[in-house]
């Protein structure tokens, strides 16, 4: 087995996992605290990417682009909450599903109108665009390491926020008992807006980080939202810890599966059969994983207490 390829793929899996975590953490908070089904979370990912692309073009610097796009995404999330989403919190899940489905369509077409149908390339600064060679023959792009590092930092920051701050305590209380936080005199609307905006920023950050690799494009939200949903279902809705663990697992399994499933299959079936069945099965792998987890634990791996 090619060691280089293995290490590279492991890192790819880890990177995917980190990105999924950024998306999943926001989404699981929104589900857990507002009981709001936000299918449009992928669109926030897309908006973050496009905003970053624009700011990068304007300032000629990726780093500045990200730094400007982060608050911009937060404001966008805030506006979305104030204008549309807040009217939906009281409604039932079916209404959430349809309304956020509508929101996806609106945001996608708005993006189309503003940024055009083609993707936008986001260039990396020279120092991020290099490679390192920690082991002989193992070449790793620096940017991937950067993504993983930033992701871990954000995860740590989120952990501190949730466990050590007052607002984090309210979030935790809200996740397990929504009625109680109202009774405790916490301003619900403010808390909800904060959580939604936080989710938007996390999703946007993921989009910004992935944009230099895949381009900022309109369809990017649609494909990632499903995987994100699978992650939070596996992890347990409302649980950040669950989102983290599930995201890493899903990222690794998906990446490694796509790379190595045909090799695995070739061990016990003909090369032809392996080559036809492996792509199909590897595409289905994370769903099979989800089904397996739910068969044993219908509430996910780490559901918050009180659910």
């Amino acid at each position: 087995m090619n060691l280089t390829l293995l290490i590279v793929q492991l890192l790819n899996g880890l990177q995917l996992g980190i990105l999924l975590f950024l998306l999943a953490s926001g989404l699981t908070l929104i589900f857990g605290i507002m009981n709001f089904v936000n299918l449009a979370h992928g669109s926030l990912y897309m908006v973050g990417a496009f905003l970053c692309a624009t700011f990068t073009q304007l300032t000629d610097s990726f780093i500045l682009g990200v730094l400007l796009a982060l608050p911009a995404t937060a404001i966008f999330g805030l506006l979305l909450d104030r204008i549309v989403v807040r009217y939906l919190y009281q409604r039932d899940h079916l209404d959430h599903v349809l309304a956020t489905f509508g929101l996806i369509l609106v945001l996608n077409t708005a993006a189309h109108m503003i940024w055009g149908p083609d993707g936008i390339v986001v260039p990396l600064p020279g120092w991020l665009d290099t490679r390192v060679e920690p082991l002989a023959g193992v070449v790793i792009p620096v940017y991937r390491l950067a993504i993983i590092a930033v992701g871990m930092a954000v995860a740590a920051g989120l952990y501190l926020l949730i466990t050590k701050t007052r607002i984090g305590m309210r979030i935790r209380a809200g996740a397990s008992n929504r009625d109680m936080i109202g009774a405790l005199g916490v301003d619900i609307n403010l808390l909800f807006t904060f959580v939604f905006a936080l989710g938007a920023v996390l999703a946007g950050l993921a989009g910004m980080m992935v944009a230099p690799i895949t381009e900022a494009s309109i369809g990017m939200g649609n494909s990632i939202i499903i995987v994100t949903l699978v992650v939070i279902v596996i992890g347990g809705i409302g649980s950040i810890k669950g989102a983290f663990i599930a995201a890493i697992i899903v990222g690794l399994i998906d990446t490694m599966g796509r790379s190595y499933l045909d090799v695995l299959f070739e061990q016990f079936m003909s090369i032809q059969n392996a080559e036809t069945s492996a792509p199909a099965i590897s595409a289905m792998l994370i769903y099979i994983l989800m089904a397996a987890v739910l068969a044993v634990r219908p509430q996910g791996l780490f559901p918050p207490k009180g659910r």
């Binding site: 589900f31 009981n35 089904v37 549309v84 009217y87 939906l88 409604r91 899940h93 079916l94 209404d95 599903v97 349809l98 309304a99 489905f101 509508g102 929101l103 996806i104 369509l105 609106v106 996608n108 077409t109 708005a110 189309h112 109108m113 149908p117 499903i226 949903l229 699978v230 939070i232 279902v233 809705i237 036809t276 792509p279 199909a280 590897s282 595409a283 289905m284 769903y287 099979i288 989800m290 089904a291 739910l294 068969a295 219908p298 509430q299 996910g300």
Partner: protein, 335 residues
């Protein structure tokens, strides 16, 4: 039942059904095959929407993966056709069996969860199937499968004739409506409806609600699978796109727009959806939006949000409110 007792809601429904029954005649008279095309799609999607309504409106199960069954039904026509097997008497039972099986397996898992989890899992399973079909190059993968011969029924009915296909679909819709009507009002329907309203209570009374809900899920899947076979024959083209979750979203929209939980709501919802699609798309030429049907996407998105925020009870609910006003005016008039 005298005609005057039909009320506004009843009259609209009867009118729509009569119009649908006469579509081929209208199409022939106006020499416009387009009407027949739209109507065929309408009737087939209405069938799918009715099946979704059975578990959603009557059972309270919000499935965001119902389009999977349309896809299974369509591929049950397409894959045999790929092997030059066009026998409808084999394709259709195959479609129903495959749909029922998929519903049984996924439903058994989905129904063990509640609320948000349920919605997400139904969606994920449908996407799983989507990716599965995309990956199978043999059957077209992403590009889909073209079929040259529609389901054959050995001389009984010739589906190559568009009018025959339409009437088969229309009669099927009527049959499905009647079937669902009986199911909803039967003992089985009572349990499903009760479980939607208060599952804890139903269990306390002695009902193993899981079994009943799973059964309803399988029945709905099977009906939708059948609709899928007709769609496959109709479009002569089968692709994984049919299973995409946005298709499931559109089905949900049809049910909600028409009026969740009502018998004819899904039919009216499907009709409204298709009419919107047909008439909003051409308008894009008059605006600055460039191609790719994004004007339709944009408008549909706005409409979705507006219907959710302001459209209580859907079309049927709206007609019912008109009926209530009429009753009140009548009562006043008699004073």
């Amino acid at each position: 039942m005298s005609l005057s007792n039909l009320g506004i809601r009843g009259s609209v429904i009867v009118l729509v059904m009569i119009l649908l029954a006469l579509v081929p005649v209208l199409a022939a008279v106006t020499d416009n095959a387009f009407y027949l095309d739209v109507a065929t799609r309408l009737v087939i999607l209405a069938m799918a929407a009715v099946s979704l309504n059975l578990i959603l409106g009557n059972g309270g199960m919000i499935s965001l993966g119902h389009a999977a069954f349309i896809g299974i039904g369509a591929y049950s026509v397409g894959i045999p056709a790929y092997y030059d097997m066009y026998n409808g008497f084999i394709q259709i039972p195959l479609a129903i069996a495959a749909s029922a099986l998929f519903a049984l397996i996924t439903g058994a898992i989905c129904l063990r969860t509640k609320g948000v989890n349920f919605i997400m899992i139904t969606m994920a399973f449908a996407q799983m199937l989507f990716f599965a079909f995309v990956s199978i190059e043999e059957y077209g993968g992403d590009d889909g499968l073209v079929i040259n011969v529609r389901s054959e029924f050995g001389g009984l009915i010739d589906l190559e004739d568009n009018v025959s296909l339409y009437y088969l679909s229309f009669v099927s819709l009527l049959a499905v409506l009647y079937l669902v009507h009986r199911i909803v009002n039967s003992r089985f329907g009572m349990v499903i409806g009760g479980a939607k309203g208060n599952e804890r209570r139903m269990q306390s009374l002695g009902f193993n609600t899981y079994r009943y809900q799973l059964t309803a899920y399988v029945i709905a899947g099977a009906i939708c699978g059948y609709a899928g076979t007709l769609l496959g024959s109709f479009t002569n083209f089968i692709s994984p796109e049919m299973l995409d979750w946005s298709r499931s979203g559109e089905l949900l929209f049809m049910v909600v727009l028409g009026g969740t939980g009502t018998l004819f709501g899904p039919v009216l919802g499907a009709a409204a959806f298709l009419l919107l699609e047909e008439y909003l798309s051409p308008l894009q030429d008059y605006l600055l939006f460039d191609g790719a049907g994004i004007y339709w996407q944009f408008s549909f998105g706005i409409i979705l949000i507006l219907v959710v925020l302001f459209g209580k009870g859907g079309i049927v609910g709206f007609l019912d409110r008109l009926d209530e006003k009429r009753q009140r005016r009548k009562a006043k008039g008699h004073d």
